[in-house]
């Protein structure tokens, strides 16, 4: 019986080892913000409701701009955390804006309902991708200060504690 237990424990250890080795590295995917803190490019894009969202109206708020898609696994993992973050810091001035890079709005509408998203989502295009330096991989998120400048850029799945720390810091400025 002792042998069986040891085999079982070894099996779990191997599986856990494989799991952690296969996980995408978060820290490696991070990129620092440009030192000159460029102004976030303005845009006007249709929301899922059909209304246009003018990005400049959020000047004065701390904005987390998230480029994502419904078919992107790491993006989907981040969304519930963003929903929590939006609820927690809305009053202090945080505004999350999602930019879907899906090819059409239908799956995004379903996703929006299913995940009870509580912040606006616009349908992105190649132009906005290029204006933000090329969105050639997902997810990519930008943290923008009240002054409209880009403070950080995160490529790939990023731990929510990283976002929260930066959001709190920007909200206090």
């Amino acid at each position: 019986m002792k042998t069986k237990l040891l085999i079982g424990m070894a099996l779990v250890a191997v599986c856990l080892g494989v799991y952690f080795l296969k996980r995408p590295s978060r820290s490696n995917d991070r990129r620092d913000a440009p030192r000159d803190r460029a102004l976030a490019p303005d845009f006007s894009l249709p929301e899922l409701t059909g209304q246009r969202l003018n990005f400049s109206t959020y000047r004065g708020k701390v904005v987390l701009l998230d480029f994502w898609a419904t078919w992107c696994d790491p993006c989907r993992e981040e969304i519930p955390h963003f929903v929590e973050l939006q609820s927690k810091y809305r009053e202090q001035g945080l505004q999350i804006v999602g930019v879907s890079m899906d090819d059409g709005p239908e799956p995004v509408r379903d996703f929006y309902q299913r995940f009870k998203m509580n912040y606006p989502v616009v349908m992105g295009n190649a132009e906005i991708g290029e204006r933000y330096g090329g969105v050639l991989g997902l997810p990519i998120a930008f943290l923008i200060g009240r002054d409209g400048r880009i403070y950080s850029k995160h490529t790939g799945a990023t731990d929510i504690t990283v976002f929260e720390k930066e959001v709190r810091s920007l909200l206090q400025r």
């Binding site: 237990l5 992107c72 969105v135």
Partner: protein, 159 residues
């Protein structure tokens, strides 16, 4: 004695259950990682093939998002649609149906880190199921921006 045996059996079942959950989560999170290395091609190898004046040029198909394709894609490659959807797979099958099964085909995506790409494995499987024998998947470790554009390889924009 009976209670002790039940407890031990429960322990073994719990252990096996945990192992199964971990294995399932690994498999689902790394679909592209299941593609055998022999079926992959690295960006620098592809560039050499494209630059060479000899040899058969591949049919290159992007099987990811159109928004990403519009921003940047490999010159000469065709957009088909996300192969994790039925529509995308159908378009892929239609595109290749009249081609000889020995046609050199390269598929790529680059939407996400390799282990999370939902598109390349279904596309590769579909082509092999149709009988294509010379299919390679472009190995893009991080994303198309980091592993192709930032490396300075040739890029085209638009539809």
């Amino acid at each position: 004695m009976k209670m002790k045996r039940t407890f031990k059996n429960s322990g073994i079942l719990l252990t096996l259950g945990l192992a199964l959950i971990v294995l399932i989560s690994v498999a689902s999170a790394s679909q592209a990682s299941l593609i055998p290395p022999s079926q992959l091609i690295n960006p620098d190898e592809l560039v050499k093939i494209l630059q060479s004046s000899k040899g058969e040029k591949p049919l290159m198909i992007q099987v990811g998002s159109h928004v990403l394709y519009s921003q940047a894609h490999i010159p000469g490659s065709e957009y088909i649609g996300p192969a994790n959807s039925d529509g995308g797979l159908q378009q892929l099958r239609q595109r290749v149906q009249s081609l000889p099964r020995s046609k050199f085909i390269i598929i790529y995506c680059g939407c996400c880190p390799w282990s999370h790409c939902p598109n390349v494995k279904p596309a590769s499987d579909a082509l092999r199921a149709l009988g294509f024998t010379n299919v390679k998947v472009l190995y893009i470790a991080t994303n198309f921006g980091a592993d192709w554009v930032d490396k300075g390889y040739s890029v085209a924009k638009g539809d």
